[in-house]
Amino acid sequence: MNVDNEWAFGLLQRIAEGNEAAMREVYRALSRRIYAFALNQLKDPAHAEEIVVDTMHEIWKYPKRFRGEAKFSTWVLGIARYKILSAFRSRDPEHEELDEALPALEAGAFDLLAQKQRREGVQRCMEKLPDEQRECMHWVFYEGLSLAEVAALQQCPENTVKTRMFHARQKIKNCLRLLLEREGSSD
């Protein structure tokens, strides 16, 4: 669904007048994306659903806060991010650090990895990333945000985003390689 700012302003005006149908329309347009991000961060479906409700409730209470300086969807996801940081995100003491320090992949190895890596493997490796790197990967590859948008959301310089993406991709590559090697050795 095309969620552009013009569409959003129209609905937000009606929401400001207490129109529940308009609220439902906004909700259905963005709930899945908020949920996907919240689940990416919290890894808990119940908490992720709570974040969706809390985020949308914020829009219901303060619809005039959206000024159109960013994309509406980015603004909403920013609210969700804030809700997650405020309420739930904590260091996982058993967080497994992924290794970056493996030999670089050769050109052919990339193709092999690309063919063999599966959704489950990618998901498993993503879950092992530190929160900020996993978040970065979500913004770039799931939401399709530009470098500037990711930096604005994460409230950090663009170079920091580039660094996080570099390390995240290295870790994912190596994680997937190890997974596939284990699978290969158990065949």
Binding site: E20, M23, R24, Y27, R28, A29, S31, R32, Y35, A36, L39, P45, A48, E49, E50, V52, V53, M56, H57, W60, L105, A107, G108, F110, D111, L113, A114, Q115, Q117, R118, R119, G121, V122, Q123, M126, M137, H138, V140, F141, Y142, G144, L145, S146, L147, E149, K162, M165, F166, R169, I172, K173
Partner: protein
């Protein structure tokens, strides 16, 4: 730019080339690098595959997930924020910044003013009615009762009595204290009896017509 710096720039731009958010200038540079470094194409393919796997992992949930909870929350807030009558009244006096005793005094003044206004308006209306009654000519036909009320009969009692009998005061009082009341023909006898039984009527006579104008 050294080869190492060029490779670093390629690495930095790669994710955003894949998600198609590079600027035109950046995209041109990136594609030029790809042409001059064919081995980089496999890394690009891996990133496309990675993006595809990440997007495939989108949770399969309904767009209504949590919606009923939100609507319940909204409705609960609406119910909680609707003020009761007492609260609205308190808010009104609060706006006027009145203390409770002052608020009560103010309220009494408002009520008294309303009562006095109603009485004065009622008096004016009755004056209008009397003039209208006195100006009625003798053209009205049909059964008419000439009623003489007792000297101590109160006006309010007289009016209530007339309403109760279904009568309409059409003339009077004359100098002799006669009131002329028009009643429906089929109620003539009954109205006469009701008037006499009221205790405030001295005499009732059925007449054919109204007297000449005095």
């Amino acid at each position: 730019m050294t080869e190492e710096e060029t490779k670093q720039r390629f690495d930095e731009l790669l994710p955003w080339y894949v998600n198609e958010t590079l600027s035109a200038e950046e995209r041109t540079w990136f594609e030029s690098y790809l042409k001059s470094h064919p081995e980089a194409a496999s890394e690009l393919r891996w990133h496309h595959a990675l993006q595809a796997r990440i997007q495939e992992s989108a949770p399969q949930v309904s767009t209504d997930i949590g919606l009923s909870k939100l609507m319940a929350r909204i409705r609960e807030e609406r119910r909680a924020s609707s003020p009761t009558f007492a609260e609205r009244l308190a808010e009104f006096f609060g706006v006027l910044q009145l203390r409770p005793a002052m608020a009560m005094a103010f309220g009494l003044i408002v009520i008294q003013t309303a009562i006095i206004g109603a009485l004065l308006f009622g008096e004016w209306e009755r004056e209008q009615e009397y003039s209208a009654v006195r100006s009625v000519g003798e053209t009205l036909s049909g059964p008419v009762l000439r009623v003489n009320f007792k000297p101590d009969a109160k006006e309010a009692e007289m009016r209530l009595l007339l309403i109760a009998t279904g009568g309409e005061l059409i003339a009077g009082p004359t100098q002799l204290g006669d009131y002329y009341v028009h009643v429906p023909a089929d109620r003539l006898a009954q109205a006469s009896n009701e008037l006499m039984a009221s205790g405030i009527v001295e005499a009732v006579f059925a007449v054919d017509h109204l007297p000449q104008k005095e």
